[in-house]
């Protein structure tokens, strides 16, 4: 297969990848989109294997790699629980980053394969592109490893802060720039590995100060980085498919990061500097409200079941707590029972609910909740005023009216779900602890709020039993 034919094949793949993303504009076209993506990838790999000059030995090595990696990927993706999706995605991002590092290394030791020079005499422009792909790839790898560890609970989700942290990062960033300039000037292999090492350290340092609930932004950002790394490698090896795909993925991750930041009314810089929500927010037992406030009203699952049975419209607000308690199945059972009683049930999703963009939607879909009952913030907010019950399960900050009224609050300006407008608000919580932002929620103390203390799954199960009686 000649160079023109393989370039054409890459063009077809690029178009198929664009169509794969296009398909995701609606659930009904999304599966076809995913198929386009697979076909595009298949064409790209085949076209590359059929290029002239491919040695038989090389092809055997490639096929072995594809078989080993493909088996691992298929098994892992088939077994993973949907609640563990965020950490899986983080782990996958780390692999893309690492692969980018190794492709950069391969290009460095065999530049002739890509027509960018001979070993030791690689064109300066290609060295610039190579060092960018290498550095971004390495940052993506170590950053994603930390994100994975935090999401998977192997490492505390609490921000890790130390004095002069940002100055250190800045100094390392400048050192990186110096190393890259020296590398481009000399083409030295030691400098190549020093850049990789420094980038690993940087990725690690950049992510440790970021707290657990800011992970949606981090995961999106690393998604974006993996794209830019692929584009950097694409520039190095002069391949249009890599450049196009890298740009698509980079843009996608950047947009998701933007949406997540907007959902918290925080700038990306504020998120990246980290340390959010470390002040205040002490643990307190049920009913131990501040002295000057009215005591909170705690209710039983039977009370909740009775009130909901006699309602007309209920809006359920799920948060990360629902995912932790694995309460989505039993929540859907509750919804079904209520619908049988003639109650209108819908679900309200805040943009930053959960640990990755769209996390709640996947969990509810897994529990067989029809996707047209699941609504986004702008769509559902006007409906709270007509709702009899807002059923908040495992969410807190995203319902806090202080975001609208209290200018001194850490969450001021964040768009919230207007659960306060519903006639009655139920909160399923383990205790009175404040949310991630460390801000008290005044809603807990309102007369029309009822707290249901306990594990989200257990409480919901008890409500289901009460409804069945």
């Amino acid at each position: 297969m000649g160079a023109t034919v393989s370039t054409l094949a890459y063009l077809v793949s690029s178009v198929l990848f664009i169509l794969a993303l296009r398909g995701l504009s609606h659930p009904e076209t999304s599966r076809q989109g995913n198929l386009f993506g697979m076909v595009g990838m298949g064409i790209a790999i085949l076209a590359t294997l059929l290029r002239p000059g491919m040695g038989g030995g090389g092809i055997a090595i490639v096929l072995a790699g594809l078989a080993i990696g493909g088996t691992i990927g298929t098994v892992v993706a088939g077994r993973i629980q949907m609640t563990a999706l965020p950490q899986l995605v983080a782990a996958f991002h780390s692999l893309v980053g690492m692969a980018a590092v190794f492709v950069a290394a391969a290009a460095f030791y065999a530049p002739a394969s890509f027509g960018i020079g001979t070993p030791g005499h690689i064109h300066a422009g290609s060295l610039v592109e190579m060092s960018l792909g290498l550095a971004i790839g390495a940052v993506t790898f170590s950053g994603s490893v930390i994100a994975f560890a935090k999401l998977d609970g192997r490492m505390s989700g609490a921000p890790i802060l130390f004095p002069n942290q940002h100055k250190l990062n800045l100094a390392l960033g400048i050192l990186m720039l110096v190393l890259i300039i020296a590398f481009v000037a000399t083409g030295n292999s030691l400098l190549f590995w020093l850049i990789a090492l420094l980038a690993f350290v940087l990725g690690f340092l950049l992510i440790i100060p970021i707290g657990g609930a800011d992970m949606p932004v981090v995961v999106s950002m690393l998604n974006s980085y993996s794209g830019w790394a692929a584009a950097g490698i694409g520039f190095t090896v002069g391949n249009i498919l890599l450049v196009v795909t890298g740009a698509l993925v980079g843009a996608s991750g950047a947009i998701l990061s933007y949406i997540m930041c907007k959902g918290m009314n925080r700038s990306i810089i504020n998120v990246l500097l980290g340390g959010f929500g470390t002040t205040g927010g002490g643990e307190a037992g049920p009913g131990a409200g501040n002295g000057d406030r009215a005591p909170v009203k705690a209710g039983s699952p039977e009370d909740a079941a009775y009130i909901m049975k006699n309602s007309q419209k209920i809006i359920i607000v799920p948060g990360y707590g629902m995912a932790v308690a694995q309460a989505q199945q039993v929540l859907r059972e509750m919804g079904d029972l209520l619908k049988k009683e003639g109650v209108e049930v819908s679900y309200a999703i805040h943009p930053v609910a959960g640990r990755m963009p769209g996390h709640m939607n996947v969990l509810l879909a897994e529990a067989n909740v029809p996707y047209d009952e699941v609504k986004e913030l702008e769509e559902i907010n006007p409906e709270f005023a007509e709702a009899d019950v807002a059923f908040v399960i495992g969410a807190n900050d995203v319902t806090n009216p202080a975001a609208k009224t209290d200018k001194s609050s850490a969450i001021y300006g964040m768009p919230i779900l207007d659960v306060e407008r519903a006639k009655t608000v139920f909160f399923i919580k383990r205790g009175m602890a404040s949310g991630y932002a460390g801000v008290d929620n005044e809603l807990f103390f309102r007369p029309n709020t009822m707290m249901l203390f306990g594990d989200a799954k257990k409480v919901t199960q008890e409500i289901v039993q009460a409804l069945q009686r």
Binding site: M41, G58, G65, G69, V96, A99, G125, G234, S252
Partner: protein, 130 residues
Amino acid sequence: MNPTELANQATLAANRALELAEAARQAALYVAPVAEAAEPFLYLLTIFLMACFVGYYVVWNVTPALHSPLMGVTNAISSVIVVGAILATGLSDSIAAKIFGFIAVTLASVNIFGGFMVTRRMLAMFKKKG
């Protein structure tokens, strides 16, 4: 202003224009080798920027409910760097390049298969119910 004066001025302007054109031609001759070297880069840069715009518009059209599958798909397709790894492994005689290429192919394949499979699983749940 009489016609002769006007004609003289026009001639001056025309001469000046000719000089400028000559200077531009010289400059172009001087720049040509650089432009030749920069051409493949500019070509890729053009494609890159266009793709950024395409990505921007396509991704804004993705429904927020499918943002998780979007991450799955983008994760899978970003592993297209496997193409670079295959070229390094297949076209070169360098042992180092073959080893690095093999590792990169393996890592990227985990992503390609894993990314598409997990996305498929997610999307299967978004089927119309009832």
